[in-house]
């Protein structure tokens, strides 16, 4: 590779040709502030905070996009640079609603951090700033343009997610990020993935906070408040308390939930295992009965919503299985309520999810197995971290505790649901055993692991060869659906997750500042925590989950996989949605 030699603040560094000054600076151990920049997906040079002085360039240049040259000398910290950056921050502040004390992103805001570092004067420039209505229409997030700094990171991820329902509108000082015709977000084809909330540097895009509802439920002595946590939450929650990315905090998380006052602490893993047996059974039925193939997973509510908006004609491809969260919720309000002698109406089902679309999913139709909604409240990992903080729990010093039985029992197969390819791998483990009629040794299906947006593989399960595909992120989903639509796909089974990388990178996961996202493979580190846990599990196949087998076995709750009752409780239906509303 051709290398270029240059100096950053006098530090010699050698970087590949075509690198930017920012990359060279990082290589030299010098951090340059950025706001709009996102490696590969938003290299637009818009915010101008990363300006530096470089020889051979006129005036100041933006480090994020300016290529290095041989012999270049870069000053990232001169008086001129510092003044320029401070003024840029003051410009931004002059159009920013400075309600930092009550902002959910306070202390975790990239703008705030820089303002502190550069010693800005808050009101150095005052003047006209447009005022915007908060958009609270969507079930999963709140858009407050008064805090928007127009870095367009949300626009970039929304476009990367194919839907592009928010973008820059108008121009000049009145430029704003919004939906077409200033419609509220819920009037658009937003799939609720929440990726925008995970990348917003400020408090302009935040998840809708439902913790007050949880606190209220916990305070209500007439209710049984039951919590479940998704596989991916245990792999990320620690980040919110300063732990390294990829720390598995399952035990402390359970302890925290118990201390928050939840009557039962269950694991969505249970529902994941249940999903696998029901889904595998559905797949076999489809194959046997010439049903619609390929069958596509339906765990990810963002993906399901995407399909309903963009491929309504292909909805029969979706598995009718509810998501693991909904299945767990449904079982709690039917089987478990029966078992405990509780009225399902007295149960408040709370889920802690890596996902903002779950807030939308709990309100879906045909998700009320017990005559009341299967789920009542879905909060994100971030919301849980705030509850833990408010409750005064010292997370790091909590003991490790275990989930409650029986719906806290899981297998390694369920754990890996949190990463792209995990559902597929779990399904393959079960299908292989079933088709072979024995407990096979093969459990690792590494071809479907990893962060590639689309993965394809051919497997021989017993005497059956099947082609499978795994996609994560809505753009990949589109590609897969187009191939199904135009008949160029020969897959039998497809896993699709709405977020790139799957749930570990869900829209509700702890915020990592962009310089971390640019320089650390966050997705892989988080996924590794789950694969390690799977590796360490005794049971690694869903159909071996004791909680699941009990339902179909000695508990005699279901007669068989896919039986009528299982359909009533564990399956659902989908509705085409209109992309535009007027």
């Amino acid at each position: 590779m051709d290398m270029v030699n240059l100096k950053i603040n006098g530090i010699p560094v050698s970087v590949p040709k075509g690198s930017t000054i920012l990359e060279a600076a990082r290589a030299a151990g010098v951090e340059i502030p950025t706001l709009c920049y996102m490696k590969d997906i938003n290299e637009i040079g818009a915010c101008r905070i990363c300006v530096v002085e470089a020889t051979g360039a006129r005036g100041l240049v933006t480090a994020c996009v300016f290529p290095v040259a041989e012999g270049m000398e870069v000053q990232t910290n001169s008086q001129k640079v510092r003044n320029a950056r401070r003024m840029t921050l003051e410009m931004i502040l002059s159009t920013h609603e400075k309600k930092c004390l009550s902002c959910v992103r306070s202390t975790n805001c990239e703008l705030q951090k820089l303002c502190l570092e550069y010693g800005v004067e808050e009101t150095a420039f005052e003047g006209y700033r447009p005022h915007y209505e908060k958009d609270t229409s969507a079930p999963h997030l709140i858009r407050d343009n008064n805090k928007c700094i127009l870095c367009r990171r949300c626009v970039a991820v929304c476009r990367e997610q194919y839907v592009g329902v928010i973008g820059p509108n108008n121009r000049g000082i009145d430029t704003n990020i919004g939906c077409a015709f200033n419609q509220p977000l819920n009037a658009t084809s937003c799939i609720s993935c929440g990726q925008c909330t995970a990348v917003c540097p400020t408090g302009a895009l935040v998840e809708k906070d439902d913790t007050d509802q949880v606190w209220a439920a916990l305070n209500d002595r007439t209710k049984h408040v039951i919590v479940q946590t998704a596989p991916a939450v245990r792999a990320t929650l620690g980040e919110a308390f300063g732990m390294p990315i990829g720390t598995n905090v399952e035990g402390k998380m359970v302890a925290a939930l118990r201390r928050l006052g939840f009557e039962r602490v269950f694991d969505t893993d249970f529902g994941a295992d249940l999903t696998i047996v029901e889904e595998a059974n559905e797949l076999v039925e489809r194959v046997k009965n010439n049903g619609t193939l390929p069958m596509i997973t339906s765990c990810s509510p963002g993906w399901v919503k995407f399909a309903e908006y963009y491929y309504p004609e292909l909805l029969p491809h979706l598995s009718s299985c509810k998501s693991p969260m909904q299945m767990t919720g449904a079982i709690i309000k039917t089987y478990y309520a029966e078992k405990m002698g509780w009225d399902p109406r007295d149960i408040v089902n709370v889920a802690v999810m890596p996902c903002t679309a779950k807030k939308f999913e709990i309100g879906r139709a045909d998700q009320s197995a017990a005559g009341v909604p299967d789920m009542d409240i879905a909060i994100t990992t971030r919301e849980l971290s705030r509850m833990i903080a408010r409750a005064g729990l010292r997370f790091a010093s909590l003991p490790d505790e275990e989930f409650d039985s029986p719906l806290g029992e899981d297998t390694g197969a369920a754990l890996i649901f949190g990463a792209t390819g995990g559902v597929m791998e779990a399904a393959l483990r079960t299908a292989n055993d079933w088709i072979s009629g024995k407990d096979c040794d093969k459990v690792d299906y590494t071809e479907v692991r990893g962060n590639a947006s689309i993965k394809e593989a051919l497997y021989t399960l017993g005497d059956l060869s099947i082609k499978v595909a795994v996609a994560s992120g809505a753009t990949a989903a589109k590609e897969v659906m187009d191939r199904i639509k135009n008949g160029t796909a020969d897959w039998t089974f497809v896993e699709i997750m709405g977020c790139p990388g799957g749930c570990i990178n869900g829209g509700g996961q702890p915020i990592q500042p962009q310089y971390i996202r640019d320089t650390v493979d966050v997705k892989s580190l988080r996924a590794k925590a789950l694969y390690d846990a799977d590796q360490a599990s005794v049971l690694r196949k869903s159909h071996l989950s004791p909680a699941v087998t009990a339902l179909y076995g000695h508990e005699k709750f279901f007669e068989a996989y896919g039986c009528h009752k299982a359909h009533e409780i564990l399956h659902t239906s989908y509705t085409p949605r209109k992309k535009y509303s007027f």
């Binding site: 447009p130 839907v163 592009g164 329902v165 928010i166 973008g167 820059p168 509108n169 108008n170 121009r171 009145d174 704003n176 939906c179 077409a180 015709f181 200033n182 658009t188 992309k579 535009y580 007027f582």
Partner: protein
């Protein structure tokens, strides 16, 4: 300034829609022709309401928000109807130094509407425009395609009277 969005009901005809769909069919192979499609759509409808932009978005295979983003970026695109008589006052430099700002302000007073608005009876709409190149006639305004030049505030009533 944010673009004004019409709140009057959409009155597109099937013929207009058919014409728009023909234009889209001719251009859909190349997404970069989005603006050209929008320009022709505006020729058909006079403005680009959501009903029209949705057809364009769907036909060109781009998000509606992108179409809207483009429509609010360029001054030429309108989100609200034009009046039967569309008055446009040139605020280019030459006209400005010869007092076209006064003309514009006075017209707002007379018509009782602001910039980029349409009178309730649908008769007049008013906008400011950049240099139309008739600097020799400064200050100028246009009513539809008719150009009036070397104007003073005193001439306005007579011009409007022609269209009443």
């Amino acid at each position: 300034m944010q673009k004004k969005i019409s709140n009057l009901p959409f009155k597109g005809t099937p013929e207009q829609e058919a014409a728009l769909r023909r234009i889209i069919a001719d251009n859909a192979h190349d997404k970069s022709r989005l603006m050209a499609v929008m320009q022709q759509a505006q020729d058909i409808y006079g403005y680009l309401p959501i009903e029209v932009q949705a057809i364009i978005a769907e036909g060109m295979g781009v998000p509606l928000e992108k179409v809207y983003g483009v429509s609010t970026f360029y001054a030429q695109f309108s989100l609200s109807q034009k009046g039967q008589y569309s008055i446009s006052v040139c605020l280019g430099t030459a006209c400005y130094v010869k007092g076209s700002g006064e003309l514009f302000n006075r017209l707002q007073e007379i018509l009782g509407i602001g910039a980029d608005e349409c009178t309730p009876d649908g008769r007049f709409s008013l906008s400011a425009c950049r240099c139309i190149g008739a600097c020799g006639l400064a200050p100028v305004l246009t009513v539809n395609d008719e150009v009036y030049g070397r104007l003073s505030v005193k001439d306005l009533d007579a011009i409007l009277a022609k269209y009443n």
